[in-house]
Symmetry: C2
Subunit: 213 residues, 2 copies
């Protein structure tokens, strides 16, 4: 596979998912930092790459442009046990990833963004409060599953776990308390014991030092 | 395949996606009406089926429960050209479906719900106005692609098209004007010329009459 180019920002859980699988699977890639807060995703040059104005974006020299973190994650995980071949298992992986993008990311990641990066502006306060309730419900849906199985789709880690780990392990930065969801806590530890795993802070540190080499 | 049970409401585009593929692929199923407006998805009995309290839900007697419309759609389309085997093509299908659940559904479907079903309550007015802007942007992202290719992932219809057709062909019910997005209009006609295709209104009529037999 020719060298993949990835446009992203490692403060974003969506970008971290892609970084995680690139590193986990030892793929050759070039990481290009894009600063959302500085408006770089809305510039004309970036919009020719992704008209939706979002990161991450992956460019595969022989194939083209792929957007949407979970689509990139699954594509890069093909052939590994993280994205199982079994048709039913794949459907379950996708189920959890659609849940992530619809229920989890818009509440938990958005509250982290409002609190951590926007520093809680008053015009986002109401949305933040609503998201606290909806995000808690999303965590409870995960907790319900993780009381029954060690990983979201059963006995083994899949890209569904990576997709949901991304913003769950930093959920406290958005004001979410994980102390009552003990099965989620145990699941986080299970993911963090995967060989070669780095969490978002460690990924940022590693990528940051790589950029200076 | 043993008989599939699907819990849904054909006023919902998410449920319609599942109905569409069941009918298109001639699958044997039992449709169970669930009324979201009457709060049926939040009842204890339903929550044991889907702790996330949402429809559609598909129950496969030999496998288990599958939720999330696009996961069900893809699973049921396996083996047909609508969900291609090629790894890159599948990634592109997922890309558009994640876009649908993150950018399109929360704006276009939600505005249809606010306008058509909730009859525009004043406490949803602000959200409705915001969604008009964000939904228009989502339509422009689709238009940009459909200016280049007849279907979202290239020359053939895939489950990405069905996923996005669901709420796009009824977007006017949410207050969206499709008159300026001419490539979307042509794409809608292309999908509606697929053999055996029924739009959401025709599906409701057919399912309604089936229920009385």
């Amino acid at each position: 596979m020719a060298r993949i180019r990835v446009y992203g920002d490692l403060r974003s859980g969506n970008c971290y998912k892609v970084w995680w699988i690139l590193n986990q699977n030892g793929l050759d890639y070039k990481w290009i930092d894009v600063d959302v807060l500085a408006g770089q995703t809305k510039r004309a040059e970036f919009l020719t790459l992704n008209p939706n104005g979002r990161i991450p974006v992956a460019v595969f020299p022989e194939k083209g442009v792929l957007t949407e973190s979970n689509a990139i994650l699954n594509y890069l995980a093909e052939g590994s046990s993280l994205f199982p071949d079994d048709r039913w298992q794949r459907a379950k992986v996708m189920q959890w990833q659609f849940f992530e993008q619809y229920n989890h990311e818009p509440t938990i990641a958005v509250n982290r963004f409002i609190k951590q990066y926007l520093k809680m502006p008053s015009d986002r306060q109401q949305q933040y409060e609503r998201n606290l309730v909806a995000g808690k419900q999303a965590l409870e849906v995960m907790e319900h599953q993780l009381q029954q199985t060690p990983f979201l789709c059963g006995t083994h880690a899949t890209t569904a776990d990576i997709a949901l780990y991304a913003y769950t392990h930093v959920a406290h930065e958005g004001g979410f308390d994980l102390s009552t969801v003990v099965s989620i806590q145990a699941w986080i530890k299970r993911i963090e014991s995967i060989d070669g795993h780095l969490n978002m802070a460690a990924a940022s540190a590693k990528q940051g030092s790589a950029a200076t080499n």
